[in-house]
Symmetry: C2
Subunit: 309 residues, 2 copies
Amino acid sequence: MKSIRIFCPATIANLSCGFDVLGLCLDTVGDEMIIHKSAEPGVRITKIEGANLPTNPEANVAGVAALALLHEWQTDFGFDIEIYKRIKAGSGIGSSAASAAGAVFGINELLARPFEKNELVKFAMKGEQLASGNAHADNVAPALLGGFTLVRGYNPLDVIRIESPDELHAVVIHPQIELKTADSRAVLQPTVPLKKAIAQWGNVGGLVAGLYTSDYDLIGRCLHDEVAEPYRKALIPAFEEIKNVALQQGALGSGISGSGPSIFALCKGLSTAKAVASGISVVYDRIGLTYETHISTVNPNGIKILNQD
Amino acid sequence: MKSIRIFCPATIANLSCGFDVLGLCLDTVGDEMIIHKSAEPGVRITKIEGANLPTNPEANVAGVAALALLHEWQTDFGFDIEIYKRIKAGSGIGSSAASAAGAVFGINELLARPFEKNELVKFAMKGEQLASGNAHADNVAPALLGGFTLVRGYNPLDVIRIESPDELHAVVIHPQIELKTADSRAVLQPTVPLKKAIAQWGNVGGLVAGLYTSDYDLIGRCLHDEVAEPYRKALIPAFEEIKNVALQQGALGSGISGSGPSIFALCKGLSTAKAVASGISVVYDRIGLTYETHISTVNPNGIKILNQD
């Protein structure tokens, strides 16, 4: 194989109760990336469309992730990477993760898979470290593995892929405001009252049970966040109203996607997802805020190969 | 049906990461209870063997739980309850829960099941309130429903029964010391550092995933408690040594059962469970502490009917 073209999906991290541990992979929104083998060793970012990002591989999340992989699997040839960004930076649906995960997935394919998908997570995390200063796996894990993922811990890295029911749809609304991850983290409290912490892990356990048993009502009952949402919601325009409208339109639950500003809702079935998407769009239309919406099933496979030769 | 004889199982609450939410039902240790319909309305405790407990129904956990049920389902006849205690009070394996759950289960059967098992939990919780001042469901839920249970929340009460793999065995060692639940609660901290809370809910999510997928290694990796064990372990003789020996003998994980003083270990297979039980017994033999051990599979059904007529 000399080159590969891949779809690098957007992802929703946290999912309310699953703060810093859960994520899911989307299917209808993502970047594209083309990676070519090159006789020249090393990594080059040869093209970036759709975003103003550095082409120096050591300053680019895709480049850094690729270099981390090649540090553990040395080759006498190299890779040229073209990035076609569709996921807006700072949207809260894993823009940097899509690039980081895509680069390591694509290079692993071109190398005939020396690493398992699970093993690629740690390389992609290096890209996240560059993007946010925090080598987290909340978005790169679902981008690589698909479905829902649970990052149980980092020492050692322990990522569990979780099944999810077929009719589950995600709706995402992305208000076009800039919200820095650092600001979203700064509002968090360093400690959690024990009672709220217990409620949170009860919900995480219930959500995982609901995913394995296709119990949509249970999934909905568990989509609460006692920890981040109460502090972060003030940073997101009309968050409470969007969430309430989503629930009124039949969403199972709704919360902040990643560290925001995107808001997600999970729904059973496409028609409910469409009703939720149009209901919440009306809110931002009324207040005159520019936004994008996405409707997607859960992508069970993660990054997809579009072409290879 | 005029009378019923039932087995009222012991239970392990908390299960390390699942502090205040998870529990499991044991199969080889439990009380027996015989309940007779009586022409005389009301509830009487006619016999108690194996423990020195009040026979006034309003001062007895079985009586209080029975009265709570009969408050919602009035009858013109009554019930005489005989209790044969095998689970020692204050052991940390749900002695009061077995009595409370048994009473409501048995009476519900004699009434031809006006309530679902799930609905009995709230009546049994009244017995727990009498016993500890805290109407919790951590032990009565697994005693009634069997298997693993997750108490997701109390407002409203939301109890989820979780499947578990066939080869899972529990070992319990009960050092014969007195440890008051109130003291065990008093050592807890009112807040949890955010990082520890995240680790805890990552482990709860992973444990539930491990139970649904029969992934014993994952179950073991998740049996950690960042919240209660670090403070409570000092109250339990040789806790660290018992836990270490259990792990050395092949246990998947080990921790405090309920609020102690019993220590539990989960194991894959009976032979490992036996090795763990004898390994940890040696520790208490050496320091000259009296103890009991129990080995049990997970009881999938909860309370069992032994006879009825």
